[in-house]
Amino acid sequence: MLEIQRISKSFYRKSALDDVSLIINEGEIFGLLGPNGAGKTTLIRIINRILEQDSGQIRINGELMTDRHLDSIGYLPEERGLYKTMTVEDHALFLGRLRGLSKKDVSVQLEHWLTKFEINDWRKKRIEELSKGMAQKVQFICTVLHDPKLLILDEPLSGFDPVNVELIKQELTEMKANGKTIILSTHNMKSVDEICDRAALIHQSKKIMEGKVADLQEAHKKGEYAVKFRGSMIAFVNALWTGFELIDKEILGDDRFIARLKMRGGNNFEDLLKALIGQVRIEAAWEVLPSMQDIFIELVSERKEALDA
């Protein structure tokens, strides 16, 4: 779907992107991660042709990207705004028509989305009458109004309450199921864990990681396991003996715990279960995979240490 090939961009000798290449496949949700100032927004602006790269190229469905491809992109920037004095309907009409829709198409699409979000009575409201969360819903609707094939969302969940965060996540998942490609730039790592298929990490203008979320978690796992049990913590620790190392525990109640541990001496998950059965009542046990947040912090810290050294 989208091939970003060796993109570099500098602002007055300061490098914002250095030889960054990415492939975003059709029908996937791609997480674009990185600390503030890493170059994510610059990359997104280059994809949207707001900025021009110094070198490299972008291909969309194999074609070199030009202005005519912009109508197939929906872009929600991180710091987004609306014209405060316009009504929701006028706003949608203006942005929809800029994206190439006819008046009639805008009206049909707007009706669809307002109904879907159950906000039909906002149609004639002026933007300044809406709360921040309401305005963000309108911004989201304006972004998807022209039914773009590629959605680029910069921090789409910021500012929403938990209910609406779930609503947007659900919407993105549904769009993905309908074949849309979504690039999600976010600091909300939980959402990356939950909805992204693949992700890339950009740090100090360079790409330092790219892959499937599941693969990345697998690659960065540390052989940790968690056991949720009912019983005595002393009995639990005694059962571990020297074959396992208790790293951490979480007290859930008087006699309920979640313990995190590592294997020792070639023991595996089965050995662990065998050792515990009969000593405590096991409610659940699983392999602990690192969250994208853990991976993010680990990689950024490693990079910083390497640069410091």
Binding site: Y12, R45, N48, R49, I50, L51, D67, L70, I73, Y75, L76, P77, E79, R80, G81, L82, Y83, K84, T85, M86, F94, L95, R97, L98, R99, C142
Partner: protein
Amino acid sequence: MRNTCLIALRELKERVGSRSFLFMSIAGPVLILIVSYLLFAYGGEGKQHWNILIADPTGIMDNKIMAHEDKAVSYSFADGYIEMEEFRDAKQFNSFDAMVEINEKILSNKTAFVFFRVKPSVRMQTRVQFQIERRIEEVMVKRFTKLSLRDFRKIKQPLNVAFRNINDPFDEASDLRGWVGLFFGTIIFVFIFLFGMTILRSISREKSNRIVEVLLATVRPNQLLGGKIIGIGLAAFLQFAVWMIIVGAGLYYLRETLFPDMLNASNFDIVQLTKDAQTNADQLFTSKEYNEFVNLVFERIQFVNMTGFFLLFFIGGYLFYGSLFASIGSTSGSESDGQQFVLPIIFMLTLALYAGYYTLQNPAAELTSWFHYLPFTSPVVVMVRLSQGYEPGQGYQIWLSLLILLVSAALLLSFAGRLYKNGILQFGHRLRLATLLKWVRKS
């Protein structure tokens, strides 16, 4: 182009839908009408009767000016040359308030001088000018054409009647037409300032609320800037049209109702002055056109000419100054930063207004020529010069000035486009000249 139109339409709709637009559309012309009313209601106050000597050594006027006596003005004729100093100092002329000099060149250069002791009111100036002008027209029709007086008036060149203070003969500010031009120039100034500031505010607002990034993902910066300037310019035109309609209707209403005495055409019944013009008498008498108020508004101001050039110079001036306002809006890091940088533009606009006044006072000065061609002063100055009248053969000057203005505006637009492209997504910085230069150099 489609996107530029959509942006222009949005801007137009937003401006026209705002309360301030509605307020200005009504308040502006109402203010003009009030001033007009006061000018004509009280402008005639002062010396109520004027005793005027017409020095007509070649007998052009044939010792006649009005068929019917005007109660406000008495004319006497002298058939010799009278120098201004002689008129000022000689005892036998003390009883005259003013002297009109009709020299032999008047029929070719269409310029007459009125030397006064105490400045006449606008009303009196208009009255005297009107009466002289009408008589000269009669003479010209009689001597040079086979046209009827009415037809001649359709094609005539206006007579330039310059009022001079005998104690300050170089004070040329009393040329009423010049003031009319300055009025038009001031309107240009007001519109450019109001709508230039609108461009600045619109860009700053889009920048501060960040919607500009959404727009730039769809339209090119030049389309966005172009659409904005066109849309706001159209709003300015619309407002100007509303002003013209309201002012026109208001003046008509004033003529018909509040100043019915001015419709007493007998005061100005010059048609009986010559037998040649007799055939037009009925038409002229009933046309209700000939009173000083109507004369000033509907005849002395050459609306078609003035309005045509007003629009051309407004477009040029708006694009010139609009580019500067747009540059500031797109490059400043915050709205307050932008407002600081407006000061130099306000200074330039104020200079333009001063230049208009200077031109009124010193139409022949060298500095006036500079002001006439400098793009940031020309929109006001040309209006003044236009109303004062260009010398025959100098009409090209107005087109040259317009060309300079449009070329400068085009250059500034390209300059503004570069700044807009490079500065519109920069936030929260302090604006420095070095940064501006970097952005201009960057394509």
